[in-house]
Assembly symmetry: C2
Homo-oligomer: 206 residues x 2
DNA sequence: ACTAACATGTAAAGCGTTACATGATTTA
DNA sequence: TAAATCATGTAACGCTTTACATGTTAGT
């Protein structure tokens, strides 16, 4: 039963978790965290285990998900699995359609350091940018891997995995760009430290 | 005097605010919020007024900043202005040099909606992407404007504004890419909805 | 037998926002 | 003289993480 005492709108994270369930599968908190790391992670952040567990409780309280315990074979262990309800499908659909998204937020730690370049040695700035390139390339490769995973296992009925695949394609390009942006800034940095060759003198006019 | 009872490491936001002070100016909380909106905002998020005020108190308690009240002319109004201390400069320099940055975090609300494309109408997805393009272009233009502002007003002594300008240049490219990524996804979406012309048949072979 | 990974949570604490309160200054 | 902006905070609240607690399963 839905507990309708909570009239406050749910935070985006709740909808993200309910979104993971909206593909129709019955999943445990642990499963949801893994799915989250392979999808949400690339364009939204992936919530911690403990938050996923508490979001699931909230969703159940709201009537948007139902749970049951599953006992495995002979062991006494029981795991709790969640499934989206009809009410939940209606609610998440309405949220996705009607609630205008907040502007994207970027928290870019490395760029924060580079902004404080007057406190760093040039070598440290280069190091930061190289690490950033590596990170971006690694994320890009993971997005590619998860995209092919999602396409190879189209599973059964459920909704098409076309849109998740589309966002992973977006992520692939996003991290490629992130990688190239680091490379470009590396060049800008060299121009700055070597004023003998001003940037306008490179690659202009034959 | 520094209150050394607090041994916990400061959160990144504290360093960001101290970073704003590390350029040497004496600034009020209000000033800092404005600076933040014109620099940090593009690659890190801009904290709220109330958080800036509480961060300033924490920085003063830690001995990293000092404040004094300034009375304007005849009015009884007094404003509090902050300046970084020597200890503060040392601390923020060490933080920037020694503390490895967390990986960049992106919270992309529009992409979260698009990932749930099976809950939306195609027209709504197009609308989301168009708004995203607009947003990205607006941010890009603001970064350009703030970059020229920063270069035109090199002010007096202080550290060079070269590194802030560099990060604004990065932001300019970042938001240009964000804009183009939305356009690319718009095309992918059309390919998806019109399977008569598969994507591989566009622009390949003569 | 031991270790790593699986699995499910609770508790405490801090981060960060929104709403609220207050008052001065400037502009229309 | 009314409204908008400048300016400085406090209080309440909720989001989110880290640390902790507990036990199972699978591999070596």
């Amino acid at each position: 039963m839905a507990d309708e005492t909570n009239r406050r709108p749910l935070p985006a994270t709740s909808w993200a978790v309910l979104g993971l369930l909206s593909f129709g599968e019955e999943l445990s908190g642990y499963d949801l965290k893994k799915r989250s790391d392979r999808s949400l992670r690339f364009f939204y952040w992936s919530p911690s285990f403990s938050q996923i567990y508490s979001e699931l409780k909230r969703l159940e309280r709201a009537g948007y998900a139902s749970s049951r315990t599953v006992a495995q074979e002979t062991g006494t262990r029981d795991k709790r699995v969640y499934r989206i309800t009809g009410t939940g499908m209606t609610a998440v659909r309405e949220w996705a359609r009607e609630t205008p998204p907040d502007p994207p937020v970027l928290k870019h730690g490395p760029m924060l350091r580079l902004w404080l370049g007057h406190l760093l040695e040039p070598e440290q700035m280069r190091e930061l940018l190289l690490q950033q390139q590596e990170f971006a390339e690694e994320m890009r490769l993971r997005a590619v891997a998860d995209k092919t995973d999602a396409q190879d296992g189209p599973s059964q009925d459920g909704p098409s995995s076309a849109y998740p695949a589309l966002t992973l394609k977006w992520a692939e390009r996003y991290y490629a760009s992130e990688r190239d942006l680091a490379a470009a800034m590396l060049e800008d940095l060299e121009d700055l430290e070597d004023p003998a060759v001003p940037p306008t003198a490179r690659g202009e006019q034959p």
